[in-house]
Symmetry: C2
Subunit: 506 residues, 2 copies
Amino acid sequence: MITGKNYIGNQLKASGSNTFKTINPKLNIQNEWESTEATSEEIAEATELAWQAFKAYRNVSDEKRAEFLNAIADEIEALGEELISVYCTESGLPEGRAQGERGRTCFQLRSMAEMLKKGNWRHTDIDTAIPDREPMPKPDLRLSVIPLGPVAVFGSSNFPLAYSTAGGDTASALAAGCPVVVKSHPMHAGTGELVASAIIKAAEKTGMPNGVFSNLNSRGIQVGQQLVKDTKIKAVGFTGSIRGGRALMDLAAERPEPIPVFAEMGSINPVVISQKALENGAAKWAATYAGSITLGTGQFCTNPGLLLAIDSPELDQFASTLASKIVEIEPMVMLGPNIKSAFSSLKAEVTSQNGVEVITSLVSAEGNFADQAVARVSGASFLENPKLHQEVFGPFSIIVSCKDEAELIQIIEGLEGQLTGTIIAENEEISSISNIVETLSYRVGRVIWNGVPTGVEVCPAMNHGGPYPASSDSRFTAVGLNSIKRWMRLISYQSFPSELLPKELK
Amino acid sequence: MITGKNYIGNQLKASGSNTFKTINPKLNIQNEWESTEATSEEIAEATELAWQAFKAYRNVSDEKRAEFLNAIADEIEALGEELISVYCTESGLPEGRAQGERGRTCFQLRSMAEMLKKGNWRHTDIDTAIPDREPMPKPDLRLSVIPLGPVAVFGSSNFPLAYSTAGGDTASALAAGCPVVVKSHPMHAGTGELVASAIIKAAEKTGMPNGVFSNLNSRGIQVGQQLVKDTKIKAVGFTGSIRGGRALMDLAAERPEPIPVFAEMGSINPVVISQKALENGAAKWAATYAGSITLGTGQFCTNPGLLLAIDSPELDQFASTLASKIVEIEPMVMLGPNIKSAFSSLKAEVTSQNGVEVITSLVSAEGNFADQAVARVSGASFLENPKLHQEVFGPFSIIVSCKDEAELIQIIEGLEGQLTGTIIAENEEISSISNIVETLSYRVGRVIWNGVPTGVEVCPAMNHGGPYPASSDSRFTAVGLNSIKRWMRLISYQSFPSELLPKELK
């Protein structure tokens, strides 16, 4: 049941007067339930509880933390139909996606739990003493990692489950030993509260300290700002726009004690298609990319927004097939009116630039439904106009016809940092294309050979991040088991008695 | 031979007109050689060369990079007596220290080379494909790390070799595959140029690309500021004061493309001495700490500036023995007049605070020589006065007499982040002291049992860093083999042909 209240630790509270309702994007009407924004006092209470909880939670064993994470997954599943229905109502996403994303969310939690149970997941180094070393004895030194402290998590709009309340940031921070305070996404406050109730139930059932988790409703930016400035918050996880992420980075950097922010932000995910691939499979790749561009109404951070190739008749064929395939797809609803209007205006801005030609026929899409489109531009026009380099969040992609390989490489070198880069090519081209691959590798966090960037596996070898502005710190990943490293820091123990060493260093 | 010029890549250049001389702190006179500050154009040329060099250097094999690092160590040794003599003249540090620090510098370079040669130093993860997974096939994913790009290194004043031109930051960045542009420390421009000449010789002998290393003279802050703002610089390494480090952090955070800064800054390195340790060894520990506090004229970032214990007659005995032992030590020269005057004024500020009593007799020290001192204050006075928490860079320490364990823990919890924390205790106290140890662990980067914080081993298990302001990012270390991780970022290869994978992922 949605109460509209905040979880300040284990307590439901709503002493504030700022209330708001989420929107059903399909029907473009407000949903019934009303949420109350957290007050300044409630935020401070949540971070104080998190700080107190940290002192106990950091010493909870890996096994007990694993139990907690598994219990969260169980409790999310126990929410049953209500969660799926509220998710669909607040996001406009279809039921199959809701179920898939719930599965991913639980899988992430359980994978982290599995890693904790295995026990050898921390980076450790042990250098034993050399008492007779000259000129000075060498002391015993042992390196491990400990949690940073309470983490503020900002959920994304486009993954109301997997990258929100109990998503990757929360799962990895809780696994690391950090209490979490979530700033709930205003577009899915109901979904967020339901998931928060599951986390609180799991915390109570597994005996976790009060304050290990809080969930704060917000309709404006004040809740998030106060949270990032709060001295008891020691790190921030964010998934969303460049503007939003950068604002948090700036706030965190300005604190008397700056704290790390891991922000996974925008990306246009360039795709390079070779001449041979166009010759051999233009139609196949056009169909594949029509699907990738429109997947989830184009609202994936790995959505391919930029298709690069050298000008040729085969590229023309690819372009026209992609254009015709993509308009055959039934328009889908976007996450909300603000996202739809941002899509429309950004698409209009990009397609009105010099030299840009829309190659799709007009798609009729009303309300919050998205009219997918593909545009085309020359390499020269693309190079000289940074407006064409920005992300158009939604089902839109731009084909850039380069005059030659040199121009193609120049375009790749000039791109901002990206989450992904994809190469579509034939195996016989491996040696001739290696220069392009190397150049692309240094602009992106993940390179893909003959595939699509959409679809982000949850596994140890995944990197979801990349050079700024794809993410705020390319040395860490937001997805996969390595994401836990964002919330832990190094500590060395010198000449320590075994009884005082953490388990992994004994 | 010192030319006073900048190394802009392999070329000696000095087109500017801002010249300066270093100071012989012992004699308090200017040294003969004159250095020319790098001009704005020279800085831009150095970063452009570094950017171009990066494209080649990032593909230089681990084996060849190891050769380069070993060659730097050889060339530094080949500088022979001239380096030792200029080092001593510019720093006032004794010849034994110069030789020791040169040894440490070469050891750091050779340890990094050894790690590169072993080959398995990168964090990698490999998840092979599961083509028949339902509902979607799982692609092959392989994770590794690649270098960030050109790194700006700001050498420290207190380690003219080991944490300066060819120090830990330079060694680890070059090992990672990042070109380095050093902003030479104005207090040891001659030492810096000599070391730079060794790096350039090594680069030429081992066939490294021009621009892999540059050395810029600076007398003011403009050279460093321009360097950190330069779009071709992708990370910063700094060792020095909190004020200096924070200024660079702020500059880097304000860039259109923010970049990571690893700043190793100040610390007062708290030491907790138990009642039993005082009962059994007050005199021994007092003698040990008189040595640690004055080591290198107290100019170590791990200098123990804060001694915490519960009030007792044994603490009185420890304090009076420490006071008498420390004044027996012959006053030593500081690194320069600015450092001496900062020491004097900070010591005066701290010792004039309410409740602070200087317990050492007056030491006579003229010119740039330091008059070491120990003060004492009650826990209550310390708690209420943040001025007593600041670092006094030099041979000075303050003993805090706490009224009980609760006050001691409150003091530890209220400290800013520290590089180190030390516990002096008897083994029979292990269980009773564990709460103090745990509290201290969460404020520091390295905890030491029954030792001194001075002395930082170069080994895999070392952490030299800690919560802000000990360092800018507690997730990384400035010393030891793990320091290379500061300059590398993650990359995933999805479904990649073996021929295009880096060696470590094949």
